[in-house]
Amino acid sequence: MTVKRWFLASTLVLLAVTAWLALYVTPPRENQGFDAVRLLYLHVPCAWLAYLAFGVTALASVLWLIPRTRATTWDLLAGASAEVGVVFTALMLIVGSLWGKPTWGTWWEWDARLTTTAILFFLYLGYLALRRTATTSDERGMRCAIAAIIAFADVPISYLSVTWSSTTSSMCASTARWHSRSFWRCLRSRCCTGT
């Protein structure tokens, strides 16, 4: 119980610090929607959390498929993790779209990363629909494990698509790198001057 309280307290403190750093310390960027660039502090963690959640789903599915490690826990973990992943993929798409409107002038760009992420979202919606349709654990196990592994093939494709094609999301990635450098410069300057 004490550990849980520590986690809760440290989470709240870190969230407050992150909000202060993202909303106050870091500078706006003129050609990236001015203050909208701060959305990257939400967008990128959402993306990583989604990838992590789908990774856990795939790993739990593999462990379910191996007869020696097969246990209902892995199946339940895979399902729960996929739900988390779908929520964060949806958030990633929504926040990215909100950032895209002032930056690109449109809510949606048909570039490689956005498209592969949208497909990822639908693949896991299908996976969750399959889980809901197959009600008993006997019906669910094998089908869902295989569906999860097939769906996970899109995760590295989605991540690497920016490297494979020089489209608008590459600009987003370079903005994130630029913002990281600006952030440290501003933090140093504010800490030194006390402003």
């Binding site: 497909i119 349709t133 196990g141 089908r143 295989i146 569906a147 097939i150």
Partner: protein, 224 residues
């Protein structure tokens, strides 16, 4: 050799059922045709819009018809508990998968010929670079049939199977849609050289799905 014979047994069984029931001929082929006509209505029958959009519209029509073909392929196994017969036949799961996928692929090839003729006539498209078109169509059809067969057995025996299969299949076949449309576009534009990387993508996808389906179909059939 026995493996090939088993594949042929399953494929010929499915094709014989289709030949006798005529569902593919009387329902799936006309469905592909009406989709092509409806697309033209949606684009206001505009002669300047239809030819450049033709490759995409052709493959969307084929994709929608694929869902019907997959549904049909697994519906015949539901009747009279034929699925249990398939399970008890002693045939290897991989050979059953290859047989069922081959039967769906043959139906789709026939459908593509009919829908292709409809597209040429109705959309005013001039076919060029026949070799690219054939290679892309073969690879894309194998990919579609194999993916559909994997997800068909995955959803087999479940309630709401009819609505679940499209939700599972459509996102998974995006590489096929992309590769087939781009390679057809390049071929029709008279630049077949641009089509070959997309044909390679289609071949890679087909090989991967056929390999995955051959391994996974047996255990999935046991579960279904």
């Amino acid at each position: 050799m026995n493996y090939v014979r088993d594949v042929w047994l399953v494929a010929s069984k499915d094709l014989r059922i289709e030949r006798r029931s005529r569902v593919a001929l009387q329902q799936i082929v006309p469905f592909g045709g009406i989709v092509v006509v409806l697309f033209a209505f949606a684009l206001n029958s505009d002669r300047t819009l239809l030819p450049p959009a033709a490759p995409g519209l052709f493959w969307v029509a084929i994709l929608l018809a694929t869902l019907l073909a997959i549904g049909r392929s697994f519906n015949v196994e539901e009747a009279n508990r034929a699925r249990d017969g398939l399970r008890l036949s002693g045939l290897d799961g991989g050979s059953i998968f290859l047989g069922k996928a081959a039967a769906v692929a043959v139906e789709l090839f026939l459908l593509e010929v009919v829908v292709g003729i409809a597209v040429v006539v109705l959309y005013d498209v001039t076919p060029r670079s026949a070799l690219v078109l054939i290679c892309a169509a073969v690879a894309a059809t194998i990919g579609l049939a194999a993916t559909g067969t994997v997800y068909g057995v995955l959803a087999g025996g479940l309630r709401a199977r009819e609505t679940l299969v499209p939700l599972l299949v459509l996102p998974a076949v995006t590489p096929v849609m992309l590769g087939a449309t781009r390679s057809f576009q390049a071929a029709l534009d008279g630049s077949p050289g641009d089509a070959w990387p997309w044909v390679q993508l289609l071949i890679a996808f087909a090989v991967l799905v056929v390999a995955a389906g051959t391994v996974a179909f047996g255990p999935l059939l046991e579960e279904a």
